[in-house]
């Protein structure tokens, strides 16, 4: 079986019908990783023993003729910010270079319970802080579509692993666009669910009010299947919502004719690459031809999203990253004489430049005398940004935008200019701030054959509608109708 042709249902039914085994599929993916990952750099740690044990369990079920669970035998890669018991989890940071968690992230537990085979942990920007994956303390990830370019970030390793057929499915995390932007750069599907839809238990915290776990997949249907598995209330995360989980796969097939799609001019302004604009506009035309009604909407506070995000995210990060003190599980600098020297030098040597920059900005924004002017102000603008969406969603069922203003940029292109890098998230951060779900799906490519992403944003807890629109687009684009 060609690895590129695999999806969740094909894997499961091939194993159920005994035309292949979970073990053979896991081995085939490890062989592909062995062959390809030297030049891509998507993985930081492999957990072959755990994977083969799970594969064997699935194969025994298949041999006994038992019905297989929904993700049976599906080879999965996990972003290295999600804790995996007994498997090193670094968050892309030197400070956690040797950290081996004593427990599993709920999303990982649920995937394995549904039969998934965890292949290993994927590279990412340190503590998920970045838009290019160049902030990994270990090595950058290269875009499988063009090795001179970045895969996006921070879930760059997860996006690259799926794009290069080194995994069928990956989990990523999204705080300001970190699932959708790399999905767009690598030409795969990336879904950020509603805040609270998926438990964050076991996710290494960056900005707790903005962090989301979600899938990166080859197809929209796979995205729906994975969401089905990981969604729902978890008593271990008090912010996980007690809201019923619909049958996402069944909802996919409902017609999209008559749905109202909002288009906001604020997402098509200055800074949007011309080729990206053309791809996204023809995608919107296609949706119109499929029977959707396109309605202009206004999201007037959009220009304030990036500054709001970089105050709230850094403030929360400065507090979350205080735990890396060199005492319990994080890096400790050698040869220190006193406790305070140990804290300072361990953090200095353990954190990379971007983590320190964000800790500094966040600490400054929270410090006495600046709290009202920066942090509180940003929280108020967050309300305005959320109201923009609430207003728009009174008129439309979903909003369509570009995922990122450009296609994948070159390694090193923005790494010396933090502000230019932050602006790569200009179309994604607002959804994180408002807590609404968003999906990025491939919608064509540039002349240089770089993928372009279409972003579809939905109402709180209405993943079903954005998945349905994405699925209809994908099916139509594939048949070229």
């Amino acid at each position: 079986m060609e690895l590129s042709q695999l999806n969740v249902e094909r894997v499961r039914s091939a194993i159920q019908q005994r035309t292949t085994t979970a073990l053979a599929l896991a081995e085939a993916h490890y062989a592909e990783i062995q062959k390809e990952d030297g030049r891509i750099g998507a993985f930081l740690t492999l957990c072959k023993e755990r994977a083969l044990e799970q594969a064997d369990r699935i194969d025994r079920m298949a041999a006994e003729g038992k019905p297989l669970p929904p993700l049976a035998g599906v080879p999965v890669a996990i972003k290295d910010v999600m804790s995996t018991r007994g498997v090193r989890t670094t968050a892309g940071s030197k400070s956690l270079e040797k950290y081996i968690p004593p427990y599993d992230c709920t999303a990982v537990t649920r995937l394995e319970a549904a039969g998934a085979v965890i292949l290993g942990k994927t590279n990412c920007d340190e503590f998920a802080m970045g838009s290019s994956n160049e902030n990994s303390a270990f090595h950058p990830v290269r875009n499988p579509r063009d090795l001179t370019r970045v895969p996006g970030g921070s879930s760059g390793g997860s996006a690259a692993a799926v794009a290069a057929d080194m995994a069928v499915v990956a989990l990523g995390s999204d705080t300001g666009g970190s699932i959708r932007q790399p999905a767009s750069f690598c030409g795969v599907v990336g879904l950020m669910p509603t805040y609270g839809r998926v438990s964050r238990y076991g996710l290494i915290a960056f900005a707790s009010s903005l962090d989301h776990i979600g899938p990166l997949t080859k197809t929209v249907k796979d995205s729906a299947i994975v969401l089905q598995t990981i969604a729902g209330r978890d008593p271990m995360d008090s912010t996980s919502a007690d809201v019923p989980v619909p049958n996402y796969v069944a909802e996919l097939e409902k017609p999209i004719r008559g749905l109202k799609l909002g288009v906001a001019k604020e997402y098509f302004g200055e800074g949007l690459d011309e080729e990206v604009r053309q791809s996204v506009e023809s995608a919107i035309d296609r949706l119109k031809n499929l029977g959707c009604e396109v309605v202009p909407v206004s999201l007037p506070h959009t220009p304030y999203a990036i500054p709001t995000y970089y105050l709230i995210a850094t403030a929360e990060a400065s507090s979350n990253l205080a735990r890396y003190d060199g005492v319990r599980y994080s890096y400790r600098a050698p040869g220190v004489k006193s406790l305070s020297e140990m804290y300072r030098r361990s953090r200095d040597e353990g954190f990379g430049a971007e983590a320190k920059r964000r800790i500094m900005l966040g600490t400054y924004a929270l410090s006495a005398g600046y709290y009202d002017a920066y942090y509180l102000k940003a929280q108020k603008v967050r309300t305005l940004l959320t109201r923009d969406f609430e207003e728009a969603f009174r008129k439309v069922d979903a909003i369509v935008t570009p995922t990122s203003p450009t296609a994948a940029f070159r390694l090193g292109e923005k790494s010396n200019n933090p502000l230019a890098m932050y602006l790569a998230d200009i179309y994604t951060v607002t959804a994180d701030l408002a807590g609404i779900p968003g999906i990025s799906i491939p919608c064509g490519q540039t002349r240089e054959k770089l993928p372009v992403g279409l972003q579809i944003l939905g109402k709180h807890f209405d993943e079903a509608t954005i998945l349905r629109v994405a699925h209809a687009y994908e099916q139509s684009a594939q048949t070229g109708s």
């Binding site: 004593p102 912010t239 990036i306 953090r347």
Partner: protein
């Protein structure tokens, strides 16, 4: 310039970071450039706007209740080892850079 060299040193201290001379210079430049950009928030009048700390402020909340009772959906009974067994002492110490089997070990706390 909003942030001065002294501010950088003060904030680094609050954050328990040392920062080398070069890092401080870079930090001074980057923080000022980012804060200049952030300044555009002042174009907005937010005097009558409620701050938003959490997305869950906007859903799942029982507005008929007061205080933390509004978040009743997020509470659970407080039972010992109700959700997950506590980590054993050994497991809790496993990742420590320095431990003696019972305690985490750190350099001298009281300096004189």
């Amino acid at each position: 310039m909003k942030v001065t060299e002294q501010d950088v040193a003060y904030v680094a201290g609050l954050a328990n970071l040392e920062l080398s001379g070069d890092e401080r210079t870079g930090m001074l430049r980057d923080l000022n450039s980012i804060l200049d950009y952030i300044d555009r928030l002042n174009e907005l009048d937010t005097s009558n706007v409620e701050p938003m700390a959490q997305v869950s402020d906007r859903y799942g909340v029982d507005q008929s209740k007061q205080g933390s009772d509004r978040f009743a959906y997020a509470t659970r009974d407080d039972i010992v080892e109700g959700l997950r067994k506590s980590l054993s002492q050994q497991a809790a110490l496993e990742n420590a850079p320095d431990a003696d089997g019972t305690f985490f070990r750190v350099p001298k706390v009281i300096e004189r």
